[in-house]
Amino acid sequence: MFYCKVDYRVLLSFSDWLNKWKDRLYLNFVASGRYKYLVRGLWMTLRITFFAVLLGIALGVVAAIIRSTHDKIIEEIRPGFGKFLLRFFNLIVKLYLTIIRGTPVVVQLMIMYYVIFASSTNAMMVAILAFGINSGAYVAEIIRSGIMSIDAGQFEAGRSLGFNYIQTMIYIIIPQAIKNILPALANEFIVLIKETSISGYVGIMELTRGGDVIRSRTFDAFPPLLAVAIIYLIIVVFFTKLVSMLERRMRNSER
């Protein structure tokens, strides 16, 4: 008897709680089709991230090539316009890396949006540019450290056979460095997905902002924020798994 009573009370409060949550979830996600804020926000987040990563890789490759070419062969080029050009570009790249890595990405985003592209109405484009340029600085370091991780003897062996700098890179260094670079690049994608959550600062309706809009309509913060967090978590866990699979395959192909 006694046992039954407690059980009943617990059950009652549990179903109470369940009902309350049903209402909250309904209010936050179903009513007025509010879930669409999350779906559209996620779609925006993925688009910004995807294109920013592409831009980041393009910029990063160029920056890494300039930096490591400069460091490796500046001494062996004879004075002239080419040498001046390499020095000049190297300086630009160094400046780029220092500024981007020395300032918060949210500040970079706001400067892009409110200052440099103040006249632009395409906020998504501006965000892609801002995150791409930001990511490029980190990708450059990923590639550079991937290249640096290859033993100097490999480079010397290539050069001693008569390959020039670029041939040595293409035939000998890059194929080996790619094993370190690819997983790190995939990681950069994961970092960027989370980083784009600040796009709301310039009024972009991405995932985080979508959750925030729901909160402002329903005055109920927890469900939308929890949903946003869970969606990020699922994406990140998924891609992390993918990266570690990639890493394992790379390691296995290494004989």
Binding site: D151, G153, Q154, E156, A157, R159, S160, G162, N164, Q167
Partner: protein
């Protein structure tokens, strides 16, 4: 060009070669005025204590190290002149490293054929045929399709030697080719080098293998503190050393 140079004639001429490193304490004279000629068909062995500049000297010859003074002439061409394509010159100067430096992402065959195919524009068949002949010469023809990590140190170094030979170089530079090997593998590498010397290959060898120097060298150079302190035939250097530093050195290594 190389055809004009006959055995016994000067292949590489080195004059007043210097390499200075600047650091906080001042300047290090890794090379302090080296002058010598390497003749075609000669086996030059370079000995000396650690830090005496042997590697720097050898690596200067193909400009892996950039000298700060002096001249190097290879087959009549100024190696340091920007007018001469150093990459072309390096094709004719093979190099064998202490740590082999085989390309781990390529099979033995690809290690050997990469440069001939890309640089000499050899066809696949031609390059492979040549590589196989060389592999047979060092008894590793059955390893063509394996990867470097599947080989022992001695096998790796034998491959490194034939990889250099695939470019048909006019001279081979060896920087302590047996120093990273387990003792039982030193012999197989030295045997390959001895065979090579018999074929008339011009070689410059930095080594601590005094037995090899005595047996194979046409000339021995003793370096200390960036200078050539003594040079001569193996008999002169080993049986009748003049310089005190050379005597001290030999007492330690023999």
């Amino acid at each position: 060009m190389s055809a004009e140079i006959k055995t016994g004639e000067v292949l590489i001429s080195v004059k007043d070669l210097a390499k200075h490193y600047k650091n906080k304490a001042g300047e290090i004279h890794a090379l302090d005025g080296i002058t010598t000629d390497i003749k075609k068909g000669e086996v030059l062995v370079i000995i000396g204590p650690s830090g005496s500049g042997k590697s720097t000297f050898l690596r200067s010859l193909n400009l892996l190290e950039r000298p700060t003074g002096g001249t190097i002439t290879f087959e009549g061409q100024d190696v340091m002149s920007p007018k001469n394509d150093i990459n072309k010159l390096r094709q004719k100067m093979g190099m064998v490293f202490q740590h082999f430096n085989l390309f781990p992402h390529l099979t033995i065959m690809d290690n050997m054929t990469l440069a001939p195919k890309k640089l000499l524009k050899m066809s696949q068949e031609e390059a492979e045929k040549k590589a196989l002949q060389l592999l047979e010469r060092v008894g590793l023809q059955d390893r063509a399709d394996t990867y470097p990590s599947q080989l022992s140190g001695g096998q790796k170094q034998r491959i490194a030697i034939v990889r250099a030979l695939c470019m048909s170089p006019d001279v081979l530079l060896f920087d302590e080719p047996t120093s990273a090997l387990d003792p039982e593998m030193v012999g197989e590498v030295l045997d390959v080098m001895k065979d090579l010397a018999k074929t008339g290959m011009t070689m410059a060898v930095v080594t601590h293998e005094m037995g090899f120097a005595k047996e194979v060298a046409s000339r021995v150079i003793f370096m200390d503190a960036g200078k050539i302190v003594e040079e001569g035939t193996p008999e002169e250097i080993f049986d009748n050393p003049q310089n005190e530093r050379l005597k001290t050195f030999l007492a330690k290594v023999l």
